[in-house]
């Protein structure tokens, strides 16, 4: 079984479909870090101050921005629950810079995989990074610069379709070798549209994570 942890709440049919495409016959189980919490409890978490907010989708279709330091222990707890349940690998469905999670099976974090891949395919290391929310642009820039990239940032939430045009305009810069869609919520269609609007090649957390997870659990 492949375990998936989303930072918001289940269900995530978009994630189910993205992983199912590459793992047609493997059991996939998704847990949300905020599963079972009331909106009131989630609001309390969103009220805790911090410097690196992550953008999460709740089961009622609304979104909240919660700091990574609040979410990290909740994500780790769900990852361990999936391992106890028999997961052979766990994929964290968020591109944030999560700390190591040591739980006896490979833990795949797009926050580590994306810079690894971008560094291997991009020689100039001049990249664009699209965060889902404006308040994440500064910590995202810091994270990518720490990985040795020269970064231009923009934002576009996958859960609001009116932000893609402005972000694509920001990123329509021929100096950028590649643009990273640095949020798990952006799907393949979004990527295609973004690439078309910006004229830049785009790397996507969601499909990349699904493909590497399929490699690791064998598919």
């Amino acid at each position: 079984m492949l375990g998936l942890v989303t930072i918001g709440q289940a269900p995530r049919p978009d994630f189910d479909a993205a992983f199912r495409e590459h793992l047609p016959s493997t059991e996939i189980k998704l847990l949300g870090a905020l599963d079972g919490m009331s909106v009131h409890q989630v609001d309390d978490l969103a009220g805790i101050p911090g410097t690196y907010p992550l953008h999460t989708l709740l089961s009622d279709g609304s979104t909240r921005d919660i700091d990574i330091s609040v979410l990290a222990p909740l994500v780790e707890k769900k990852a361990r629950a999936l391992v106890d349940d028999g997961a052979r690998a766990v994929a964290i469905c968020c591109a944030g810079g999560f700390p190591d999670i040591s739980c006896g099976v490979p833990v795949l974090r797009p926050g580590r995989l994306l810079p690894a891949l971008a560094g291997a395919v991009c020689r100039t290391r001049r990249i664009g990074v699209v965060s889902p929310i404006a308040s994440q642009m500064a910590p995202a820039q810091e994270k990518w610069e720490k990985d040795g990239f020269s970064v231009k940032t923009a934002f576009a939430s996958p859960y609001r379709h009116d932000e893609i045009t402005a972000a694509a305009e920001e990123m329509a810069d021929p100096e950028l070798e590649v643009v990273i869609l640095d949020c798990m919520g952006h799907g393949a269609e979004y990527r295609d549209q973004f690439s078309q609007l910006s004229g830049r090649p785009a790397l996507l957390a969601q499909t990349l994570l699904a493909k590497v997870a399929a490699e690791i659990v064998g598919g």
Binding site: R88, A89, D100, S102, V105, P106, V107, L108, R109, R112, L113, P115, A116, L117, G119, A120, V121, R123, V178, A188, R191, D192, S195, Q196, P201, A202, L203, L204, T207, L208, K211, V212, A214, E215, I216, V217, G218
Partner: protein, 221 residues
């Protein structure tokens, strides 16, 4: 067109199948660095000395081991020919750690992808590395160590039967966080068998390269 360069000779139906599956709808062409060479010429290349031999398949089904340094200019010329023919990106079908290729278009190299992705997954640095030939064992260990890993190295050629059990046994005992099949010839069948025998999670150069090529090609659509 995506240009793919194997260090031996074509045809390579295994590579064709992987790229057809993971890079659908994109035209690609596979060319061998040694295509058109006579056995005598290949023997001459194999005889060149060095400390980093690469293992390759020839059109007649036999294999040759030729030094990376000897192959490098031949591989580069093969890439340049593909670029002249219209390739907008190149994929190198070998995990050897070649120096940077300057051919005017992006070059996807498994030798860069594998350590980057392995490092993102195996945070302890304890990896298993399966290399195709005994004579590559020491240089491969040095390379992975210089990348900051603590590798356990085992040998299993994709082109010679009967080596996979011993390699899997080494990894089953060492229990690394992740095993890397560090040779392009080791495909999904080999991976499945290796995973079954060793019980270790495994990263396969061949399918990883094809999937990443598919991601990059998808981002260009």
């Amino acid at each position: 067109m995506l240009g793919l360069v194997t260090i031996g000779q074509t045809p390579r139906p295994d590579f064709e199948a992987a790229f057809k599956e993971y890079v659908p709808g994109v035209e690609f062409r596979i060319v061998g660095a040694l295509d058109g060479l006579e056995p005598g010429e290949i023997d001459d290349l194999s005889a060149q000395p060095g400390d980093y031999p690469l293992h390759m398949l020839l059109a007649d089904g036999s294999t040759a081991d030729i030094q990376l340094e000897t192959l490098q200019p031949i591989v580069k010329q093969t890439m340049l020919n593909l670029v002249s023919d219209g390739a907008s990106a190149i994929g190198l079908l070998c995990t050897g750690r070649f120096p940077e290729f300057e051919v005017g278009v992006p070059v996807l190299e498994p030798g860069k992808l594998l350590p980057a992705v392995a490092g993102a997954i195996a945070t302890s640095g304890r990896v298993g590395v399966v290399t195709p030939i005994e004579s590559q064992r020491e240089i491969v260990r040095e390379i992975w160590e210089s990348d900051g890993f603590s590798p356990t190295v085992a040998v299993s050629s994709p082109y010679h039967e009967g080596q996979i059990e011993a390699a899997a046994k080494v990894m089953a005992e060492a229990k690394p966080e992740l095993v890397v099949l560090d040779c392009m010839g080791l495909g999904p069948d080999h991976r499945d068998e290796f995973t079954r025998l060793s019980g270790c999670p495994t990263l396969t150069a061949q399918t990883l390269l094809a999937k990443v090529a598919g991601e990059v090609a998808g981002g260009l659509s």
